[in-house]
């Protein structure tokens, strides 16, 4: 396996597309706070229409990366481009909508008043009713935001991000305050919005969320891109799927030579094969008639994540 800083080329990356075609482009971006480098030489390109997850531990540099992307922080070094121009220009043109992490509700205004203001500030907004509906706020338009529950307030922030009808939607750990059902509804809305041809970039530390809702996962670790690819790509790097079956006394020697198999483990009468290509392995097992109690476990993205990131934040020399 390659070192932790290697990148898997993303399949969605169009060869030869110029910088002007990218929705988001980071080139060698560094952001230091004193001696600490929160973002350290980050290079990243996101094409229009992609849904990308920025996956990393707390403190990996996700929020700083998004603040740089939105022009809230100037980079110490390197360049950030949105739609080929500086972030401020894209923001000023209403092409970016964002849901920030720290946002607490603005006191003394209703949901509708806030959204009316936000749509009014944008050149090509959606109407307030549509934003309310997309964010699942139908019955709450007349309520004061500071009197909503945490989950409802979160949906208000989502509505604010959507209301300008942006081409690029940026969501910083968007589902933190949502319960399971609300989370489902939230991602349905995001998906619907992405399907209109918009670009979505969200940060998360939930592996399953990244896997399920993003076309592409960018693993960030210590301010760098540690890996970049689809969930399947990342799994493959960690050794793919885990295939297990009952041996029933069959010989174990040929197993290591089966297609795709990387490692073999025998537990009592059960064989566990770590494979990079579970389809080929299962087909080969079927030919050998070794399919009793066959199980294919979707290999841990968690394994992949742990393999791709450093075990604990430590000083780099």
């Amino acid at each position: 396996m390659a070192g932790t800083t290697g990148t898997v080329p993303a399949p969605s990356r169009a060869p030869g597309a110029g910088a002007a075609g990218a929705a988001v482009e980071f080139r060698g971006v560094t952001r230091s706070y004193g001696a600490v480098r929160a973002v350290d030489g980050l290079t990243l390109r996101i094409a229009p229409g992609e849904t990308v997850a920025l996956l990393g531990r707390n403190g990996a540099g996700k929020s700083t990366t998004l603040a740089l992307l939105l022009g809230l922080l100037p980079p110490t070094d390197g360049t950030v481009r949105l739609f080929g121009g500086p972030p401020e220009a894209a923001v000023r043109a209403g092409r970016v909508g964002a849901m920030l992490q720290e946002g607490r509700p603005v006191p003394r205004v209703t949901v509708r008043e806030l959204l009316t203001f936000v749509t009014g500030a944008h050149p090509r907004p959606m109407d307030v009713g549509e934003a309310l509906e997309l964010a699942g706020l139908g019955g709450l338009a007349g309520r004061r935001i500071d009197r909503l529950s945490g989950g409802q307030a979160q949906r208000v922030r989502f509505a604010v991000a959507l209301a300008g009808n942006p081409e690029l939607l940026v969501l910083d750990e968007p589902t933190a305050a949502l319960d399971v059902e609300a989370r489902r509804a939230f991602w349905d809305s995001v998906r619907g919005y992405a399907r209109r041809g918009n670009t979505v970039l969200f940060s998360t530390h939930y592996l399953t969320e990244a896997d399920e809702f993003a076309d592409r996962i960018v693993v960030v670790d210590r301010g760098r891109v540690a890996a970049d690819g689809s969930g399947a790509d990342l799994r493959r790097r960690a050794g793919g799927a885990l295939v297990s079956f009952d041996l029933s006394g069959a010989p174990t020697e040929p197993l290591a030579a089966l297609p795709g198999v990387g490692a073999v483990e025998i537990r009592g009468d059960r064989a566990l094969l770590r494979t990079a290509d579970s389809d080929a392995t299962v087909r080969a097992l079927a030919r050998l008639d070794l399919i009793r109690g066959l199980q294919v476990a979707p290999a841990g993205l968690e394994d992949a994540f742990l393999a791709l990131t450093a075990p604990a934040p430590k000083e780099t020399v």
Partner: protein, 239 residues
């Protein structure tokens, strides 16, 4: 800018502390200062009215910075930064908000002067007084906003209250400048609050404000405006 101002005006008018401190305090102080001591002269009733209307307006104007500091803590400033609004539009919206919330503070004291203390001025004088006191608050709004964008919520409250007290006292809004020692009187005439009250007092004397008065205020306006713009740009950076 107008959409933003509209939202902030709604927020300000729904704030109870605005109603108490912005409107109630100056009226109460005016009545105390003019009614307690027996036989307050007409001149004092007029100058105290202008001084305390100016003080109320000053408080409301500086107070708009407290709201800004609160917004920063909420992350609302960062949200504004990623909307298609320029810093100038945001600050202009805030100044406009302040202009609207300052007006009742001025009106309340003038009304108390006319109704309770029987201050009699010509109609044009009342109108000019309101307009000049109203326009004259702009530098203080910008100072308050600058503090709000630059400092934490707590520090802003202290800084704005400190600025208000210092400027009011040195500017002669509470006590007539005539009671000051000579050196302080000279200094006082260069301070923004003093010139601000002078805008109004010149009207009650039946004249137009002197050019130097307007020039001094314009200088403070430019200075505080620059401070507010600088502070706003820095504000959204801090997480």
């Amino acid at each position: 800018m107008f959409g933003y101002a509209r939202l902030e005006i709604l927020r300000a008018l729904r704030d109870k502390s605005y109603v108490i401190f912005g409107l109630g305090m100056p009226v109460l102080m005016y009545l105390l200062f003019t009614r307690l001591g027996a036989g307050a002269g007409t001149e004092w009733k007029v100058s105290a009215m202008v001084g305390l209307a100016a003080y109320g307006a000053l408080g409301a104007a500086l107070g708009s910075g407290n709201g800004v500091a609160e917004d920063k803590g909420l992350g609302w400033l960062r949200q504004l930064r990623i909307l298609p609004l320029s810093p100038r539009q945001v600050i202009a919206g805030r100044v406009l908000t302040s202009a609207v919330t300052v007006l009742p503070a001025i009106g309340a004291v003038l009304l108390a002067g006319a109704v309770v203390n029987g201050v009699a001025l010509a109609a044009w004088q009342w109108a000019a007084l309101v307009v000049l006191l109203w326009l004259g608050t702009a530098p203080f709004t910008l100072l308050g906003l600058g503090n709000g964008y630059r400092l934490s919520a707590q520090a802003t409250g202290l800084a704005n209250t400190g600025c208000m007290l210092l400027l009011s006292v040195v500017g002669g809004l509470w006590f007539p400048v005539g009671a000051f020692p000579g050196w302080l009187r000279a200094l006082s005439s260069w301070t923004p609050a003093n010139r601000f009250a002078e805008l109004g007092l010149s009207v009650t004397r039946g004249g137009a404000p002197a050019l130097t008065t307007v020039a001094v205020l314009a200088g403070w306006l430019a200075l505080f405006g620059g401070y507010a713009a600088y502070a706003y740009r820095r504000a959204a950076r801090t997480v």
